[in-house]
């Protein structure tokens, strides 16, 4: 089933039968990965397959329990990320982790700042290098601003810039594009290709197959912590890869069913917030999925937050079924039937150190009380229902959600909000970092919910997702709505045009 590419000299990076467990959780059983110089190697697998764990072992962040790890043919054993860095490995982690108080420049050079003879940091040189780097990546972020407050996308871009500036021989990217939109992805790919052509080895992890097939030369599939196969990209197809990842065939990827469109449920009128968004007007009707598209940083998430009441706004009204939603009061919005699945799962969607049970029931605690008292028994009972409905992969309900894989965490967030039985669901990047199987489940689920009369506002940076799922597409650019497109009108071209050009008229 697997084709081992012919090897010319030692591989840049080779892992054989690597195992790793966390307490009782087996993350890797026998993972293998061979990456050649001069190539871009895709690593794919379902959520929880163990991709990120493998990356962290290579990075020296985790130590493997058993198995072999070779770098250019030599056995290595890293006990810290500093060692792997010194050995020429650069890693872009799945979750960007920057120093919020430090400037963008310092973030990029931390720990390896250029210094003069007296050990004084050479700020001028650091600045020059950052400017060169940003020019190469066409990044427009002020290098002197602190990392605090940057959007996830900007953070991801800085992670990429940082990894590239390391000038490493092996570059591993764990879902670097999950937060990025088309333009940035293209730019990243151009850089990745030029790095490959310089003779470096790259590993690219992604759940987006179009990207994988556009960029990579070789592809390795993992499942349940085990190595499944390695093929050259020309010799395989998407359905074939999906079958190996999931172990079965996956049907329609975007099965939005037509649904009865009812009365307007969510109405947003003249919403304005200085510096963030301006004069935003739209409605979402019962049974309708409205897609909100735009480039990263267009301000879509901010609108969602303002509607839900997490952020304040300067002017405007939000109504649900005719009732005005009070400002800055998420609890009130929830009781009116509003649910928000936020974009940052680990910081906003979940209390990452809480148990699966508590996380799932977090938004419905009040309904679970008897005489005002809340017991773990009631929570577990409710959580069990929702965990099994969404097929959350965990063995006990008191597992800490932070230890679940990204996709399973997303399922818990969905369960938490579906449990509230909402009338309006705002879902920000519903499938970010989710594998194909789960993704199609999520889409099927959204479609079904709409069919039952739920009004859904779906914010997504993935164009195919928007086009496949939405009955209507709103497009934003720099804090303003620039277009409203019906399902028929919405194509990649019309949406991208609206996302990059100011509208001639305000709607």
């Amino acid at each position: 089933m697997s084709i081992t590419p012919s090897t010319v000299g030692p591989a840049a990076l080779e892992l054989r039968n690597v195992a790793k467990s966390f307490g009782a959780v087996v993350a890797l059983k026998s993972a293998s990965l061979t990456v050649q110089m001069n190539s871009i190697h895709a690593l794919v697998g379902e959520n929880g397959a163990g991709k990120s764990t493998l990356v962290k072992i290579v990075a020296g962040l985790y130590q493997r329990d058993s198995g072999d790890f070779l770098l250019r043919g030599e056995e290595v054993d890293f006990s810290s990320t500093a060692e792997s860095k010194a050995a020429g490995i650069a890693v872009i982690y799945q979750e960007p982790t920057l120093f919020p108080d430090l400037s963008v420049t310092e973030n990029i050079f931390m720990g390896r700042q250029p210094t003069n003879r007296f050990g004084k940091i050479d700020r001028k040189r650091m600045r020059r290098e950052v400017q060169g780097l940003f020019a190469r990546l066409d990044v427009r972020i002020n290098p002197d601003r602190p990392a605090e407050g940057l959007s996830i996308a900007d953070q991801q871009i800085i992670e990429i810039a940082k990894a590239i500036s390391l000038d490493a021989r092996v570059l591993i990217m764990d879902e670097p594009t999950a937060a990025l939109s088309g333009v940035e992805v293209e730019r990243l790919f151009a850089v990745a290709r030029s790095l490959r052509d310089e003779g470096r080895a790259l590993v690219f992890i992604s759940h987006r197959f179009d990207e994988v097939f556009a960029l990579c030369d070789t592809i390795t599939v993992m499942r349940d912590g085990e190595y499944i196969s390695t093929d050259s990209i020309e010799s395989t197809t998407v359905p074939e890869i999906v079958r190996r990842m999931v172990g079965r065939d996956v049907a329609d990827l975007f099965p939005k069913q037509p649904a009865e469109i009812g009365e307007p449920v969510l109405e947003v009128v003249g919403l304005n917030s200085a510096g963030i968004f301006h004069d935003v007007n739209f409605t979402v009707r019962a049974g309708e999925i409205v897609g909100l598209a735009g480039l990263v940083g267009a301000g879509r998430s901010e609108i969602a937050r303002a509607i839900f009441g997490v952020d304040n706004y300067d002017a405007g009204t939000v109504r649900i079924a005719g009732t005005t939603v009070p400002r800055r009061n998420p609890a009130a919005a929830m009781s009116l039937g509003l649910a928000l699945v936020p974009e940052d799962r680990r910081k906003q969607g979940l209390v990452i150190d809480a148990t699966v049970s508590r996380s799932t029931t977090m938004a419905i605690q009040k309904q679970l009380t008897k005489f005002g008292l809340l017991t773990s028994r009631a929570e577990n009972a409710a959580a069990r229902i929702w965990a099994s409905r969404l097929e959350v992969k965990t063995n006990a309900l008191d597992t800490v959600v932070g230890t679940l894989s990204g996709g399973n965490q997303q399922k818990v967030v969905l369960a938490k909000w579906l449990a509230t039985n909402p009338r309006v669901l705002i879902i920000d990047e519903p499938t970010r970092g989710i594998d194909v199987g789960t993704k199609s489940e999520v889409h099927r689920l959204l479609s079904e919910l709409a069919g039952k009369g739920l009004a859904i506002l779906m914010i997504s940076s993935e164009l195919p997702e928007v086009l496949g799922m939405a009955d209507r597409v709103l497009v934003m650019r720099e804090g303003r709505l620039t277009a409203e497109l019906s399902r028929a009108e919405a194509t990649s071209e019309t949406v991208m045009y609206a996302a990059t050009h100011a509208s001639e008229h305000h709607s």
């Binding site: 998420p330 063995n395 309900l397 449990a419």
Partner: protein
């Protein structure tokens, strides 16, 4: 909740979800709270046999009278620390409340009225802390270092050089009275009632769940509809109020209202709360552990004083205990990780074969 969605049945059998990953005895026994309670029992047994006079009932009376203010303040302090905040101004509030009771009583107000004013002042003081932390968005450590100075300054400023000592015999003896023949001070009645209220609030209500959620991740709590600012505000008000109540007790027990009453008590309260297993970073802790922590320090101090060990040794022991309690917790965690390391591989469950 009604079912809004049904996921199409998968080819695999439905997953079984156990409620807990570990058996009950391990969950209950291997906690910080149980460790503190166990240590408390050990120390009591040891002191009863090892220290002359410790076994006498009067010991318990004095002990409880001594630790009552700490017990009272530790209740809301536990909740505040679980949200990830801290209140260093509590002891100053005890002093301010004491002074208020003193001067108002001196000015002719009966004790209940003076006490009511003091309680209101406590609530207002707590609300000021809460306002600065929630509405202005300042770190509580910094805010309450400021109000620590402010409230103590008001107390000393209001009463000056004097101490008010002429309180009605009725009230002062009430503060020291015992429940019937038991030797248990009457102050334990309000304490036990409050402890129950706080335990229920923290462990069995959505409000309490919110407190833990805030401590673990304020952002995620906000996104789940927890009103973070209101919760913190309520907790700071509760802390101020109970500190004022402790101040009234303090005043009546010693029959003396002074500006410098209870100086340094804040660190004792916090030490006891932390010893009881509450995480200073928020999100973790339980009230029974905290109560055991307060009693542990109290019993140790009492036994050591009886054994004529001087106050400095008591301080050393308190300090070392605090350090050991946290260090041992991370040592045990480390040990467990070591033990469960590679060796566990063979015992790992085989993931369900799906193909």
């Amino acid at each position: 909740m009604s079912s809004t969605a049904t996921i199409p049945a998968q080819t695999t059998a439905p997953r079984v979800y156990r409620d807990y990953g570990r058996p009950a005895w391990r969950r209950i026994l291997f906690t910080r709270e149980s460790a503190v309670i166990g240590l408390l029992i050990l120390v009591i047994i040891g002191a009863t046999f090892g220290v002359r006079n410790f076994g006498s009932p009067i010991t318990m009376t004095y002990l409880l009278l001594d630790v009552a203010p700490i017990l009272l303040i530790a209740l809301p302090m536990t909740l505040v620390i679980i949200t990830g905040e801290i209140d260093l101004s509590v002891a100053s509030m005890v002093g301010l409340s004491s002074v208020l009771v003193g001067i108002l009583h001196q000015g002719g107000l009966p004790i209940p009225a003076a006490a009511a004013v003091a309680i209101i002042a406590g609530a207002v003081g707590g609300a000021l802390n809460g306002f600065l932390v929630t509405a202005v968005g300042l770190p509580s450590l910094a805010v309450t270092i400021g109000t620590l100075a402010l409230y103590r300054g008001l107390a000393v400023g209001l009463l000056g050089t004097t101490a008010v000592t002429d309180f009605d015999e009725f009230w002062t003896s009430l503060a020291k009275s015992k429940i019937g023949e038991t030797g248990i001070p009457s102050i334990m009645i309000p304490f036990v009632l409050l402890a129950i209220v706080f335990a229920v609030l923290l462990h069995f209500t959505p409000f309490g769940r919110g407190i833990f959620a805030i401590g673990l991740s304020p952002d995620a709590a906000t996104f789940s509809g927890v009103n973070v600012n209101r919760t913190k505000m309520i907790l700071f008000i509760l802390t101020g109020t109970l500190s004022a109540f402790a101040g009234i007790y303090y005043t009546l027990r010693f029959g003396s209202a002074r500006g410098d009453n209870a100086t340094g008590l804040e660190l004792q309260v916090i030490a006891a709360v932390l010893l009881g297993g509450v995480s200073i970073f928020g999100g973790r802790g339980a009230l029974h552990g905290v109560i055991a922590g307060v009693l542990l320090i109290g019993v140790l101090a009492s036994a050591l004083r009886l054994a004529n060990v001087t106050s400095d040794v008591i301080n050393i022991i308190t300090g070392v205990l605090l350090v050991l309690s946290v260090v041992s917790a991370s040592f045990l965690a480390w040990l467990q990780k070591k033990r469960q390391g590679p060796g566990r591989l063979k015992r790992g469950r085989t993931p369900a074969a799906k193909a």
